[in-house]
């Protein structure tokens, strides 16, 4: 059944991998921020999922790190055009966090400490596509990169991977977030180069 294409396999393993259109490769990890960097001590950190029916599910830091975690190695693509390959993270899958959440929602609005928001369809948070990440490259995630914990949803442009994540509001209607209300694309698929509204 499986048709193996040697050309495809070689390309995947070669160092000059294919990047999404318009992207260039970077080795460092640029820090982008739309405001002052929040410093949230883990003993005061919490993560809340709110449903469209008004129910709340909250995890403390201790509860989060006791959940089964995964190691993720993934490419990331920033809308400012840099891509970074094979970044290494550790975090809890949203499949785990949303397992016992009853909802009919189709959309999610991510909230961060510091006030940042970003929106995406709920289905993009499920099926092994998104994590609450708290380790990067075998170290605790630094505040500059969104620590103590950030959303990691690497199949979309990286502005969707909200730093300093504090919760998810589940919604029946789409509600655009911080950049999505200021000209950026509502969905942000790097492979379809959905940078701006209308792309």
């Amino acid at each position: 059944m499986a048709i193996v294409s040697p050309g495809f396999t070689r390309r995947r393993q070669s160092p000059d991998v294919q990047l999404p259109p318009g992207q260039y490769l970077t080795e460092d990890f640029p820090v982008l921020t739309a405001g002052p960097t929040p410093r949230v001590p883990t003993d005061r950190w919490e993560f809340t999922v709110g449903t469209e029916a008004g129910q709340k599910h909250t995890w403390s830091w201790q509860q989060l790190i006791e959940l089964p975690a995964e190691k993720i190695t993934t490419d990331i693509h920033c809308v400012t055009k840099w891509s970074k390959l094979r970044t290494r993270w550790k975090g809890v899958s949203l499949d785990v966090l949303l397992e016992d959440v009853e909802t009919a929602a189709d959309f999610a609005l991510i909230h961060s400490y510091g006030g940042y928001t970003t929106n995406l369809p709920l289905e993009d948070l499920l099926d092994g596509q998104a994590w609450i990440a708290y380790r990067y490259d075998d170290d605790d995630l630094t505040p500059e990169h969104g620590g103590p914990a950030r959303l990691l949803v690497p199949h979309l442009y990286f502005w969707k991977s909200a730093k300093w994540v504090r919760g998810i509001q589940l919604l029946l209607e789409d509600e655009p977030g911080f950049w999505e209300t200021a000209g950026y694309h509502d969905y942000g698929d790097p492979w379809r180069e959905q940078r701006y509204q209308g792309d």
Partner: protein, 86 residues
């Protein structure tokens, strides 16, 4: 006839946006602070330009540049007072 279409703004807006807006006085929608645009805290290492109130740190202005257009979002600003030549 109660209103006319936006084309009638052309002359007025050209005058407004041709001036140096950094000397304008803006009022923050978050806390009411009034100060010149030049005193805002501007974050540029981001997908767009984000200007925050120096008093409450709320976002007062966002400017995103696309390939062939720009988006200016002023929902955090109550008003801009712009000095003009008399």
């Amino acid at each position: 006839m109660s209103h006319v279409d936006g084309n009638s703004l052309a002359g007025d807006l050209r005058e407004i946006f041709a001036v140096d807006l950094t000397v304008a006085t803006g009022q923050c929608a978050g806390c009411g602070y009034k100060g010149s645009v030049a005193t805002l805290r501007v974050y540029q290492n981001a997908p767009g330009i984000v200007a925050r109130c120096p008093h409450c740190e709320e976002v007062v202005l966002r400017l995103v540049r696309g390939r062939d257009r720009a988006w200016l979002d002023l929902r955090g600003t109550v008003s801009l007072e712009i000095p003009l030549e008399s």
